[in-house]
């Protein structure tokens, strides 16, 4: 999902959970996890748990703010004032989601600047989905429907993850995410009631976004080496393949109502399994994009870095303004 790069081998792999670091604390920690309890910021936690959370939450945060770019691309070209207001609100939400998540990551003892530095230098990953271009207005609808729809599937279980600050951030995010998916579907419904050209535009966007969307759930369970440990820690509640299946099953009906087809000839109902079967995923493409060779990787990161650097003088001036104000107050006292 937004943290799919957790499956990329790390450059400096941890030496494994430091389980015996403090047996007494570890036992307490395990008991809390087993009882379905929450770990809070100042509680003792194994170093590997902390590191995994920093990676996961920050990847998630990076995905939210990089996700603003492909959609922000369409704000000035929204077809009506109503759609523009909706898109502005959605993009603002994504920025907010990034902030909730950075704040949650910071409770684990990393600074906001360190996290952003990791993103800007390419050390940290964000979701590969945002490296695909948004070619037409229909893409904005399809992103809401499929990309945010997939995100919701993945994020609902995270509302109950074992780390309190992350779980609470996810509760806020999930409440807002539903608006994102529904406005996207609503936008597409409007286009499907339009001209033949508009309907073709929607189908074309679905064709381009379908496979990347179901890739968002990450590698198959058998190829997801870190999943078992994350499940043990209560960070991951449902497996990649189970979530993907749930998403495919839910989406098929929505596509029918909309009047589009998925670009997968093997997609069909399997009565025996009680689920839809679907074709093989092109994992080479997935890893290619995760590893930085997608259509938009270079542009996205460059836009992020430029925004950060262009804003530097504002951040500095605001601090200096406060320093002077405090000095004046001090003098007057």
């Amino acid at each position: 999902m937004y943290t799919q790069a957790l499956d990329v081998p790390q450059q400096n792999p941890d030496k494994g959970p430091r389980a015996v670091e403090n047996p007494e604390y570890q036992a307490e920690f395990d008991a809390k996890i087993d009882a379905g309890g929450y770990i809070e910021a100042k509680d003792w936690m194994p170093e590997a748990y902390r590191k995994t959370l920093v990676r996961q939450i920050s990847q998630h945060a990076h995905s939210e703010i990089v996700g603003m770019l492909p959609e922000g691309n369409w704000i000035t070209r929204a077809p009506t004032l109503k759609r523009k207001a909706i898109l502005l609100a959605k993009v603002q939400d994504e920025g907010g989601h990034g902030l909730y998540l950075y704040a949650a990551a910071e409770t684990l003892g990393v600074s906001r600047d360190e996290l952003l530095e990791a993103l800007h230098t390419g050390r940290a990953k964000y979701s590969s989905i945002f490296n695909y271009p948004t070619l037409t207005w229909a893409d904005i609808g399809v992103i809401g429907w499929l990309v945010d729809g997939a995100a919701i599937m993945n994020q609902i279980p995270l509302c109950k993850c074992s780390y309190g600050p992350y779980a609470r951030a996810m509760v806020r995010i999930c409440k807002e995410e539903s608006f994102h998916q529904r406005q996207g579907y609503d936008l597409l419904l409007a286009m499907m009631k339009g001209t033949q050209e508009q309907r073709e535009m929607v189908q074309d966007a679905v064709n381009r976004w379908w496979w990347p969307s179901i890739m968002m759930f990450g590698p198959h369970d058998k190829d997801s080496p870190n999943s078992a440990q994350s499940s043990r820690w209560g960070i991951k509640r449902i497996s990649n393949d189970d979530l993907r299946q749930k998403f495919v099953d839910a989406t098929v009906e929505q596509a029918k109502v909309l009047g589009v087809t998925m670009p997968d000839p093997e997609l069909k109902w399997n009565a025996e399994r009680g689920h839809h079967d679907f074709g093989a995923i092109d994992w080479d493409e997935f890893w290619n994009v995760v590893n930085g060779h997608g259509q938009g990787n270079v542009d996205r990161l460059a836009a992020r870095v430029k925004a950060w650097e262009d804003g530097a003088w504002v951040r500095e001036a605001a601090l200096e303004h406060e320093r002077k104000r405090a000095a004046r107050e001090h003098q007057a006292a």
Partner: protein, 95 residues
């Protein structure tokens, strides 16, 4: 260039009159005025609040999680502090 991060502020929001301010998250801001402004944008985009408090995070004094046993365990065996400890005759037990 020297990296200077804006300080961290904790945000408390009263969702409506009659309720307490409740901690809802944190923001970075250079001063109190902007901290309020940012908190409004981040935490009350959908009418979640009627009042906001912000306090610089390093001004908060918190209890040590390791001190949990000595701080909170002593209350555990003082069940006589709860009304249900007292079994009264049926006729007056709703007291």
């Amino acid at each position: 260039m020297e990296r200077k991060e804006w300080p961290l502020w904790e945000v408390f929001v009263r969702s409506r009159n009659g309720l307490d301010h409740k901690h809802c998250g944190s923001v970075h801001a250079p001063d109190a005025k902007l901290a309020l402004q940012v908190a409004r944008d981040v935490y009350t985009r959908r009418q979640e609040g009627v009042s906001i408090w912000v306090v610089q995070a390093d001004h908060i004094v918190a209890s040590d999680p390791d001190a949990k046993p000595e701080l909170f365990d002593p209350a555990e065996d003082k069940i006589y502090r709860h009304p249900t400890f007292y079994q009264l005759p049926d006729e007056v037990n709703h007291m």
